[in-house]
């Protein structure tokens, strides 16, 4: 059985959905970051697969930059997280209501 592009896309879809579920149900900020990593990785798979099946390196390039972005997002995000934790003693999303209108 030949594994085609569609297989990878379906896998990517599933992973993406899992990531979104995580985004929506996680209340802990750190775990929320995990979910975003899942999203990014799901997209990366799709990029790599498309790149492979169409013989075009652009997809890999994109995946590469996505990884770079993920790394920088993590660095800044984690720093902010620590600041928040220092000030409030928790990283619970439900307590972050300073934007309440």
């Amino acid at each position: 059985m030949e594994i085609g592009l569609n297989h990878y896309l379906v896998l990517s879809t599933i992973l993406f959905a899992i990531g979104l579920v995580g985004i929506m149900r996680r209340k802990n900020l750190l775990l929320l970051f995990f979910a975003t990593e899942i999203l990014l990785n799901a997209v990366n798979i799709a990029f790599a697969a498309i790149s492979h099946y169409y013989g075009d390196l652009t997809g890999q390039m994109f995946a590469f930059f996505v990884i770079a972005i993920a790394a920088s997002e993590l660095a800044v995000g984690l720093g902010l997280l620590i600041v928040w934790y220092k000030r409030h003693g928790n990283i619970d999303l439900d307590t972050m209501t300073s934007m309440r209108g």
Binding site: I23, M24, K27, L93, D94, M99, R100
Partner: protein, 639 residues
Amino acid sequence: MELYLYIALFAPLVSSMFSALFTNTPKKQFVGIVASLLIFTAFGSSTILLSHILGGGDIVHVEMMTWMATGNLYIPFGFVVDQVSVTMMMVVTLVSTIVHIYSIGYMDHDKGFNRFFAWLSAFVFSMMILVMSDNFAGLFIGWEGVGLCSWGLIGFWFHKEVATWAANEAFIMNRIADLAMLIGIFLVYWNTGSLQYDIAFPAMATLDPSTLTWMGIFLFIGAMGKSAQFPLHTWLADAMEGPTPVSALIHAATMVTAGVYLVIRSNELYDLIPNVGLFIASLGAFVALFAASMALVNRDMKRIIAYSTLSQLGYMFVAAGLGAYWVALFHLMAHAFFKALLFLGAGNVMHAMHDELDPFKMGGLYKKMKWTAIMMTIASIALAGIFPLAGFFSKDAILEAAFVEHHFIIYSVILFTAGLTAFYSFRLVAMIFHGEERYKLFGIDPHEAYKFMLVGMSPLLILAIIAGALKGTYFEMITGLLPNTEYHLHSELTYWIMTIGTQVFVALAIMYAYKKYAFSPVSVPDGTSKMENSFMYKLLLNQYYIPYAYEEYIVKPYNELSAALWKVDQNVVDASVDGIANIFYKTGENTRHMQSGNLSTMLKWMVAGTVALLSLAVVFGLAARYSGEIRTILSGLGV
């Protein structure tokens, strides 16, 4: 000459604006004086223009500025001073000058003194636009302007409910007629392509008679409203709730004659459709009789004079309808003089009697108010048409016209009406100035009006006496524009028989009035005498039950309909509007939870939003991809 034209037109506007500055301040004598002076300036300019026209000068025609110019529609603010409009201008400015002066005295103790002059001058301005405009659009502006000012002046004492009611009635009735008039104007424009008199009327000669008939009918309905012809007449009597100078100026001398002016101005149209003319004449004759009969028994001084105005307007329409336009205009002019005088005299009496209007409660006022009595008597003689006063010449010409045109029914009706006119006029004079001094029973102490008021009225008095002498000059002038239909009876003898017969008939009516109301005891009617219980008396006193019928068969059903529709409005229109508002309220109420400040919820909404946007992208992407197929399917469905 153009300068005088502009002065005559805009002096009243300046006066109105000037007075309007002081509307919220207490009475200021100088407001009245300045207003009167400005109106007098307009009068002076009109006189100069009149002499210019009389001297055979050219018609003054100016185009002040372009008002509307789109496509084929071109309506300028143009003004014309020709024989007809200069006559109207003279009448308007003269009577309004006198009324302005008179009002300084009459409104002396009124809180709204300044406001009164603002309205009054605004009225004069509107009236000037009406008569001077060289096109139907300008005429319509003036037409609506006088309607508005009339509304403001009838309801001048707006704290009186009856006055506001009368003002609204007048306004609404006029609106009904104005709608028809507007349709008429549209028809004129549609068929001739212009609203300018000097383009539209010549173009009418080539039009289909049925189109012209409709034009004539619709324009005349407009005239009927303004001139209070049957069946739109009820507002005029009710309009007497306004201050008396207003009645004199607007509801006797000027505004109500605007309808006659319209017919005269459109003479070229009505000449082409003699059937409509005959209808106008018949209606005029009917209204003359109808109004005169109501005046016979009425117990309200001002209403009697108002009915008399109505009756005289009927005369004017008889003349205009029969094609004797210059006679109609002449009667209009003469009537303006003596009727304004009559009203102003009535105002003096009212003032003296502390706003008492019932002539049955007066009597013997001659001793107290000599000059007013003389003026009113002369005005009444003129109204009755006794030689050699103004009314004789004008009314006699109308009778002749009807006779010569072989409309004998109309002739006999208006002849009979002439007798009635004489009777009710002198019934009024006799009851007010002669007989027992019944007012003593009511503890009123009458006094003569201010001197300057009487002096101010004197030009009217003079004109009411001598206007007939001007007939020849007038005829010379006016036939420069209007058809010079002269009416000559076939034989001298018939003429003399007719004239003398009419005079005798009128004189008899006057004598009867005096006998009944001056030389025999008159008591205040208490509803017991035989005459008062007769059917005719009741019918006439209740104005043929027409206001009652209007109330019962138009106003009430309309109210009910409105009540029903109000429900519809509430349940359908309001409900839908409220519903839309409620949707937003509810949406806001329900979606405010979105803004809980909880990041987790926000994330969920973010995802939901992303999904929505993505689905839109997918849908539009597909639609763009398969646009050809979609078009095929839609065209297959017949869209």
